[in-house]
């Protein structure tokens, strides 16, 4: 029997505000000592009055609009009650039935086909305190509470179950992260916890309209973890269904080290959140003009920028896609083009050259060192100077890569490295001739083979000369001189 996989994702993103959602404590708690960004509002002390952060509201509306959601005239906050020590008040201020945005979508691309994924709603709530689980020497387990994170604005984006594979889920997450970063509303970093994802996954027999049991998967802390956990779940559910057993509707946690999901201990009773309108927060009436103004100020989003890159710089769509999937990368690319270097190239050729370097050597080093491009030591101007040297054939491609690595690691300037390491290309025929003669002398077999008609041997000899000059010899001259000398000899 064949099954279809059905996935819906819920994403939580911390908003990049200066202060918390309902008080004036700083929301920038990452490097703060525990319990130092806390006030009576964060602690839920009796008699305190929360106040809505205007910037968080604006960021949420921006996101809702960017995801093509309808933003209603009226919205309000609700109390979601549940007893858990990460909630100081015994409830979380959230939204139940009047979110900031609903019924939107975003577009993903898999196998070259565009697909629209529905967004059920975008709503705003507060983050909860951080719990650190410990076991005492006598075996008692307990938790430590750090309230710094509690009250940081948290936006939830609830996706429709429109995803049909773990790969589509990955594409959806990457697209959503990219949009949030373009908007500048969140750092959207999964490893740092400012972008979190829970998944609902079920399978549906081919000839049935009803999916089998819906399973919620939690504890996925990276894009890779989401992909792996969903792959695992899709397989596990199929296996159980094919064995004729019944799948249970449950919450499962992803265990990274073992690469499996395990059933989480079910709570004693089903969730009973008893939502009710937050009496401390008056409702919000969203002025149409204001919402329109926010919409008109939205920055250029990834898809629009990709299309512009294709139209404006004549880039292949593949290149434009790679460059614009990250805002920082796209910004860097445009900063390079602004320098106008190398001048002698047409703007389309220049764009392609820069694009090749960014998606090639540059990306490789960024990935290897886990660096974001906006933190790189190589400025767009320096990269373009290097490309200029390559273009003028002052240095060979091999030298350029070595030089770039040095610039990337040390932050040195291109000119300084050339001066220091003598990386400039050798076009002095006298020097090259000497090396060519040495190569012919030292590789008698290759010379014989060449004369017997084996063209491959020429390449070998060129390689010997390049090696002796540490990649600096002008390859065209080496080829010419070698052929000439071999003919003579």
């Amino acid at each position: 029997m064949n099954f279809e996989t059905i996935i819906g994702l819920e994403v939580h993103a911390q908003l990049l505000t200066k202060s918390k959602m309902f008080c004036r404590c700083s929301a920038d708690y990452a490097s703060a000592p525990p319990n130092t960004h806390v006030c009576p509002v964060c602690l839920g002390m009796p008699g305190v009055l929360p106040t809505i952060n205007q910037q968080a509201v604006e960021y949420t509306i921006m996101t809702a609009l960017a995801l093509s959601c309808t933003v209603p005239d009226y919205t309000k906050f609700d109390r979601k009650n549940y007893p858990y020590p990460d909630l100081m008040k015994g409830y979380q201020i959230s939204q139940s039935d009047a979110p900031f945005g609903h019924r939107g979508w975003l577009t993903i691309e898999t196998n070259g086909e565009k697909k629209r994924i529905g967004i059920a709603n975008v709503h705003l709530e507060e983050d909860v305190a951080k719990l650190i689980h410990r076991i005492s020497p006598d075996g008692e387990s307990y938790s430590l509470v750090d309230v710094n994170r509690s009250g940081v604005p948290l936006m939830e984006i609830v996706g429709e179950p429109d995803l049909r594979s773990p790969e589509e889920a990955r594409q959806y997450l990457m697209k959503l992260r990219s949009i949030l970063r373009y908007l500048g509303v969140s750092t959207a970093n999964m490893e740092e916890g400012s972008f979190r994802c829970d998944a609902n996954i079920s399978i549906r027999p081919e000839n049935s309209s009803a999916p089998l049991a819906k399973v919620e998967v939690k504890n996925m802390n990276s894009f890779k973890a989401v992909y792996r956990a969903l792959e695992y779940e899709a397989k596990r559910q199929r296996r159980i269904a094919l064995e004729g057993k019944k799948l249970s509707q449950e919450t499962r946690g992803w265990v990274e080290e073992k690469g499996i999901t395990v059933a989480q201990r079910s709570k004693e009773y089903a969730h009973d959140y008893r939502y009710f309108p937050e009496p401390d927060l008056p409702p919000l009436v969203l002025n149409r003009e204001w919402v329109k103004e926010i919409g008109s100020k939205l920055p250029e989003l990834p898809e629009a920028r990709r299309d512009r890159f294709v139209a404006e710089y004549n880039l292949p769509p593949y290149d434009a896609n790679l460059l614009t999937s990250s805002k920082a990368m796209a910004d860097y690319f445009e900063a390079c083009l602004k320098t106008g270097v190398p001048h002698s190239l047409s703007s389309a050729k220049r764009a392609k050259m820069v694009s090749n370097w960014l998606s090639g050597e540059f990306s490789r080093l960024l990935n290897a060192t886990n660096t974001e491009i906006d933190n790189s030591k190589v400025s767009p101007e320096q990269l373009c100077l290097l490309l200029d040297l390559v273009h003028k054939a002052s240095i060979s491609g091999t030298s350029a890569k070595l030089m770039f690595k040095e610039m990337f690691n040390s932050g040195k300037l291109a000119d300084d490295i050339i001066a220091q390491q003598g990386l400039s290309q050798i076009s002095d025929t006298g020097v090259i001739e000497r090396e060519v003669m040495a190569a012919i002398r030292n590789n008698a077999q290759a010379v014989t083979d060449y004369k017997a008609g084996k063209r491959q041997s020429l390449k070998f000899l060129v390689g010997q000369v390049m090696r002796a000059t540490r990649g600096r010899a002008n390859p065209r001259l080496v080829n010419e001189l070698l052929e000439e000398k071999l003919e003579e000899g």
Binding site: T17, K18, S19, R24, C25, S26, A27, D28, P33, P34, N35, T36, H37, V38, C39, P40, C42, L43, T51, I52, N53, Q54, Q55, A56, V57, K76, N81, P83, Y84, P85, L131, I132, H133, E140, S141, Y142, S143, L144, V145, D146, V147, G253, Q264, R265, E268, Y269, D272, R274, F276, P277, E278, P279, L281, P282, P283, L284, V285
Partner: protein, 95 residues
């Protein structure tokens, strides 16, 4: 409308309250009385009145996004029933 014993125990559990048998009986009656009073209120015809969650006519009360000083850690932890260094300490939570 009479609240059952199970309903009272469920509400107590949600509020994390431990009740004695006498309290369960007493609260069962008192909570039922409260609900009966609401049943009286429900007889009022409100079909022309829009629903509201507010009793005061306020809307759009927000603050600008500026951070201000928090309380000192010592004050934050001063009321902790149990403290462990820079943290509140609580019983283990089972997921």
């Amino acid at each position: 409308m009479k609240l059952s014993r199970e309903e009272v125990l469920h509400i107590a559990q949600l509020a994390r309250l431990g009740l004695t048998e006498t309290e369960v009986d007493r609260l069962s009656e008192q909570l039922s009385d409260i609900l009966e009073n609401f049943e009286v209120l429900q007889q009022v015809d409100t079909s022309d009145v829009p629903p509201t969650a507010q009793s005061i006519p306020l809307q759009n009360v927000t603050k600008g996004d500026e951070a201000a000083a928090s309380l000192p850690q010592s004050q934050i932890l001063a009321n902790a029933p149990r403290r462990d260094g820079e943290f509140f300490r609580v019983k283990a939570v089972l997921e």
